[in-house]
Symmetry: C2
Subunit: 303 residues, 2 copies
């Protein structure tokens, strides 16, 4: 095992909390920060350390950002006034692991600003869901300097099963994450479209899952999400609201490269419609409700 | 092993020829019919039996139709004049296995017309590709009467690895196949969209395959087709031209059920554009060429 580090985790949602638990398990001194005080208290009950952020910046070896988006990432790193924030308080050689899904250009910009403080920035979006976060078994799509990888090594070791090393500069990790989210989002919406279409043709949702998961129409997302529809359980593992954000990042990057992504645009429209229908906080499989309601078909457990 | 049957296979393309080979290997007397005489001769060289169709109808235990579409299926079964054709020449109790992708309502209609001649009809679309056809390892999405399943049993055993029993009447098999093709077609086009988008963001096609196949963006089709793009090899395993046909069947069935399938429509538009650009006979992974050409990016091995 690597020697123990002092690590601050920012954002204690299901992903961040799970990663913090994995860091504690690996023996690292782990501080947790979240706008919801209860989440911080909860982390202390499982071995996290309580601290005032203003006092510990200079002691940290690493900061792991598992916040929602680019705006929150920038706010933690440099403050809302773009001058204060975490980074100016860190000692030289500290590494920032930025795990949110952000535009590739944003990752490049953050890395450059961290470098001004001799702080390493690892562009390191994550994939795998909350269960794998808790198990320390995430996939991480990482790019950054050798120094950033070296400094981040114990953190990657504690939190991930697979690290894809995608390049020696920030941006490449986020580019790969954008590609992955593009497919993941399209596959969820396509699953919903196909399952509800199947119902109109007499194919029961349970039969759909049994057969398609063994056939050429299968996808990782179908295997993972279609059972939520069969169970009628829309407890959010990953919510509808994630997709307007992530597919928005994809389409903004596409647009600035002159790339047209019509299937992604069409999938995005389904998630936006779901959010507009008040489903934003439900599991993303609830995009099937938009299709079902339009087609006048019944989903299991939905009244 | 089941006792040997006399079986005629109609349509000796890559799927039908492979199924015929599997039937020969299982010890069945196998006649092959195809508009291309060379294909019939080729089957004889691997153990098929040459025959005049007009003389053997009454001797057959089973007919397996692996033709392109509903029109060809109907033409073989009942002739172009809707009165002649194979079925009137068959003895009572013979089973027809209809393997083409056809509309569910068409399958129901064919089963009813076969029943007038006491001929069993198994709605039995296939999935798995030409290699699995040759290995006798297809997946078959089957529905039909118990008599139809019983009569077809030795054929299913010789040609498939998995038989999904989807109901006691024709139509259910074709409905499930439509659902599968909907997803398969969308996933191929989405893979092409994501891979070319990735190129605009600096993600190399080879890296795309390495990473995404291990992440949440994976699909069966991505794993199967994306390597064709990396290799720059568009030898058709399954051609672009399949998709306007199969997604057309899906969308016609959707329309007649009042179901709106916007993602499928958008994927179909990409295949239609590929066909319009002269790519119809290339492997369906060539839909990526449409994206690449619009975005001005280079695919491996494409000049």
């Amino acid at each position: 095992m690597s020697s123990a580090m002092k690590v601050a985790v920012f954002g204690l949602g299901s992903m961040g909390f799970g990663m913090a638990e994995s860091l504690i398990r690996a023996g690292h001194t782990t501080y947790g920060f979240d706008p919801i005080p209860d989440q911080c208290d909860r982390l202390v009950t499982v071995g996290g350390v309580s601290a005032n952020l203003e006092h510990i910046g200079a002691e940290l070896d690493a900061a792991v950002l598992v916040v929602l988006n680019a705006a929150q990432t920038e706010s933690v790193l440099f403050g809302d006034d773009r001058k204060s924030g975490l980074v100016p308080t860190l000692k030289a050689g500290t590494v920032v692991l930025s795990c949110a899904t952000v535009p590739p250009d944003f990752a490049k910009a953050m890395a450059a600003r961290c470098a001004e403080y001799e702080v390493h920035y690892l562009d390191s979006p994550i994939s795998g869901g909350s269960i794998k976060a808790r198990e320390g078994a995430l996939s991480i799509m990482a790019s950054g300097t050798t120094d950033a990888f070296n400094a981040a090594h114990p953190i990657l070791e504690a939190t991930s099963e697979k690290v894809f090393i995608l390049g020696d500069a920030a941006g490449a990790g986020s580019a790969m994450k954008a590609v992955n989210q593009m497919l993941a989002g399209v596959h969820i919406a396509a699953m919903a479209e196909a399952m509800t279409f199947g119902i109109t043709q007499g194919v029961e949702p349970e039969t759909f899952v049994d057969v398609i998961t063994q056939c050429a129409g299968n996808s990782w997302m179908l295997e993972n999400r279609a059972p939520h529809i069969v169970a009628g359980d829309y407890t959010p593992h990953s919510s509808i609201n994630i997709w307007p954000k992530d597919l928005g990042i994809v389409l903004a990057a596409a647009k600035s490269s002159g790339f047209s992504a019509p299937i992604t645009e069409t999938a995005l429209a389904q998630f936006v419609e779901a959010a507009d229908n008040g489903l934003g906080l439900e599991d993303d499989a609830a995009v099937a409700k938009v299709y079902a309601s339009k087609a006048g078909v019944q989903l299991p457990g939905v009244t």
